[in-house]
Symmetry: C2
Subunit: 244 residues, 2 copies
């Protein structure tokens, strides 16, 4: 086992999209009393780990992602570093750390990333044990400062999506307009008129209609689209308009 750097960690907020809902992948954390078997801690945490000696922080994030989802080359964005002295000071977190990781530093600074995955490609059951998806608006009890991390990750993702078409990372390669629309509605927390959304998307040269039809749980078959990152990069404008 490689040596870890005890006062620096990375945490990953892994977003997926399923059931027309934005979801976060969480890992169960349980601590039982050695003697009585009583459950002392039962909650969830993000995926995270310390960085290793000689490891770039971005590589540490990719490693965590690979370990917990089996996926590589996925969308990953560093959004904030949490370095408050009290961030691990809640009693249950102290109990957990003292029991499980007595060698870890008292002041751990955590560099946080969020990632966007096609949840059909991750099967939590087959991957890391105790991992499962939770809708972002129905989170279970969370350890450490991970609730704050998730809500900040969501804020960054929302801001990002207003400015850049990152949502496609959450969908299968081929998707329908209604899937795309509900994804936008879920992340941006807004209702969009279907017909205006259609008009807006048809202006986006990088969303390319296919000849195929898909039925995404609906009655009528809908046209399938793909996203071309390449076309987007080539046609993106950098002159915008002030949003206020």
């Amino acid at each position: 086992m490689e040596a870890i750097i005890s006062n620096i960690s990375v945490d990953c907020v892994i977003f997926g999209f399923d059931n027309n809902t934005l979801q976060v992948l969480l890992t169960k954390r349980e601590l039982k009393d050695r003697e009585t078997g009583e459950l002392l801690i039962a909650d969830y945490t993000l995926q995270g780990h310390h960085i290793l000696v000689g490891e770039n922080i971005d590589d540490a994030a990719k490693r965590v992602l690979k370990d917990k989802t089996g996926l590589e080359n996925i969308y990953l964005e560093q959004f904030q570093t949490f370095g408050d002295i009290n961030r691990l000071r809640r009693p249950k977190d102290q109990l957990w750390l003292k029991t499980m990781y007595p060698m870890v530093s008292d002041h751990v600074v955590s560099v946080c990333y969020y990632s966007l995955v096609d949840s059909t490609k991750v099967n939590p059951d087959l991957q890391h044990p105790y991992s499962s998806w939770f809708p972002v608006d129905q989170l279970p009890e969370l350890g450490f400062d991970h609730e704050e991390m998730i809500s900040m990750a969501l804020e960054y993702l929302r801001n990002k999506l207003w400015r850049e078409p990152v949502g496609f990372e959450l969908l299968p390669d081929k998707f329908t307009l209604s899937q795309l629309q509900s994804l936008y509605e879920a992340i941006l927390n807004t209702e969009i008129d279907r017909r205006n959304f259609w008009k807006k998307v048809s202006q986006m040269k990088f969303v390319i209609p296919l000849d195929e039809k898909h039925k995404a749980g609906s009655r009528k078959k809908a046209q399938a689209f793909i996203f071309s990152k390449d076309v987007y990069e080539r046609t993106r404008k950098d002159k915008l308009t002030l949003s206020y």
Copy 2:
């Protein structure tokens, strides 16, 4: 002297606005050969320091800012953490570290902030020695990975300004429309029609005209305005429009 945490630091990109140009505050770094007096290193760096034992990272950034500009309560935004293993590995940086800070860790992770200051309130000569302002598009030779930090800070600032009226932090309390316009042009790297800018700004309820007139280096006196953060917070909309 308080103990430092040797593998975590903060760096601050301090932006000011002067001469219709966005400026960065830099500190001179010089190393002379003990015997020959030859200049081994002569370049500039950002303001930075290690975090102290028991110190929040945000507080470390505020401390650095206070130390180097004398200012408190100024706009400060964490934008990225740099943690590549090779970020301090250039020969001149190694020479500097080995000579000046032999105890510092080999892998230092730096949490970066940018801040926006009213440059009329900072007088580099009276503050930290060897500090001076440089236009962002005419930077001198820089140490460590600080050039990358500045260009990333500028990118974050630009994105921020498209979405939120943070530019006022760089101006005196009272300013004219032409000052504001050239600030927007400098940061957004775009030309704006003066009359359309006037129209746009007059829609912003949080930019409040005063009865006073100012002459900002121009022939004709121009009307002065103030920015009300309070009015902005109360009138901001969170439904935006996709920028693509």
